[in-house]
Symmetry: C2
């Protein structure tokens, strides 16, 4: 149990998919601090001894387990749950995979691939992507959300207005996240912890890494929030921006196509420069490169940029 | 003339629209450094004494003049022009407008609006958006590009594979930009200088500000580049990220809709918190807030975030 948390919810108290009929594992008063043990996104199917063959046989019925749910006393539809994100206790192990059929360039990368990471879970220095580079780490929870008003079981894959699989890499320690409540008690769960990820999570996976996180759950009555919002206490890119960026662009009338083109161009450039296999460059881009919309008004063409931090290769 | 530039091209040597039949105003060897005087995006129609009435009577035939074109000796289709961006000499005056029919939330903001800026062109400290905040400045050229292979005149509004109205706020001093050449000599022009802008340029205008810029034009033979790319020598957000961000999100199956929702939610929040009129919040967002794609793989819903730098309101 963390020194700051009054409760620890263990990783075996998890569920797969969202369903407001799942009984809460804990009921707390607003303002309670809780430690959550989170499984990795494979639910333990990928380990330190896994090979690429294990990617091909993943049981998708066990993907993205989340720890919870927690019932927050007094939470009612129209309120918001305020989550203050505390410390992460990373495990030192992680994996990144290309899963066929999943990811921004799924049509180009059709074969499974797997990269296993080890990192110093105390020093949390950059993790080697041997031999080409080192990726700065910044842990966060990829899936963090509340139960939906609609009854029945809902896939955990898509994020929704109540949060869920947001995969927002800036939901790190110190951030305050607000989620709209749709059912009594809110029914909060968290999981899918990542040691690092770029904006977009372009190959579909990050540095997927089991870890614990300490969260404080509070309540804002009658917040009438339409979608998640958050406040960061400080800069969000200083762990990796010191040497600037290489940037490729996609330009055209469709943001999705432009994003795909920008990423494909970066993959090509990194593979040519470093000798990495294209799928290795693709997975590296997913854990540290950022998709940004540079221009969205100069009709009919928009500009999407893919920002690859140069420090990774230096 | 700048101390470092061997040539100055004055602002009266400009053209509106791209046409590879426009005769070059200068022919240079690769590696030449040139100072360009750039008009503002209105071509001088909006000045320090303008009122909102002048926004309604803008002559769009004079919008976005670019200074040039410059013929680079030896440039041929398949090559790239490498532009090293040097110093800007800002004018101290700028404007931001909501132009009906233009901008990400054009359906919501149907009336013209105008904000005039003055800033210290030497100290370049944050510019007051009185009385609510101060916007950090970082000058760049919104329109920077080469002539298209296709004959005839092409509107300057959309950016294209040869560059043009890219409105990439990171094309600042020290950056190396590469543009694909489609005609002999490349035919380079630049204009639409901005004192500050956020990623997206969401209301359609930035801090539009006439200024000079020193550029070095070089050539990379047989580069076979499909679209613009660039290298930044260092961080791109440290002028405004010290206090972190307020972030609103849009979540759904269409990136454009998600972007609109994220921005509309930030406009609502800023207007409620500060008492600004919504259109004032919208223009403020355009000059300093950033659109980022947080997640683009968790089918069928993507996450777009709008990042508003908290330092602006502190």
């Amino acid at each position: 149990m963390s020194a700051k948390a009054g409760h620890t919810i263990h990783g075996d108290c998890h569920h797969v998919g969202w369903d407001n009929a799942i009984p809460p594992v804990l009921t707390v008063a607003p303002g309670t601090t809780i430690e959550f043990e989170c499984l990795d996104a494979s639910g333990g199917q990928l380990t330190r001894t896994s090979t690429v063959a294990d990617v091909g046989t993943l049981d998708f019925g066990r993907i993205n387990p989340v720890t919870g749910p927690v019932y927050i006393d007094g939470a009612e539809p129209g309120d918001a749950v305020k989550i203050t994100i505390g410390a992460f206790a990373p495990s030192g192990f992680g994996w990144t995979a290309n899963i066929p059929g999943f990811g921004l360039l799924a049509d180009q990368f059709t074969e499974p691939a797997l990269h296993l990471w080890t990192y110093d879970r105390r020093a949390m220095g950059p993790a080697a992507y041997s031999p080409v580079g080192r990726v700065p780490l910044k842990p966060f929870a990829g899936t963090i959300g509340l139960a939906l008003a609609e009854p029945g079981r809902h896939s955990v894959v898509p994020p929704r207005r109540v949060g869920g699989n947001l995969d927002i890499r800036d939901l790190t320690s110190g951030v305050e996240l607000y989620l709209p409540v749709e059912v009594k008690g809110g029914l909060f769960s968290v999981g899918d912890t990542h040691a690092a990820q770029g904006d977009g999570e372009i190959c579909g996976t990050a540095i997927e890494s089991p870890m614990s996180v300490v969260l404080t759950l509070d309540l804002v009555k009658d917040a009438r929030l339409a979608a998640p919002r958050y406040t960061t206490p400080g800069p969000v890119t200083r762990h990796l921006d010191a040497k600037g960026y290489e940037v490729t662009t996609g330009i055209g009338p469709d943001l999705m196509t432009a994003a795909r083109e920008a990423v494909a161009r970066m993959v090509d450039m990194l593979a040519a420069r470093t000798g990495m296999a294209p799928v290795e460059a693709y997975m590296l881009c997913s854990v540290c490169g950022d998709l940004r919309i540079s221009e969205i008004v100069d009709q009919p063409n928009w500009v999407v940029g893919f920002y690859f931090p140069r420090v990774v290769l230096e």
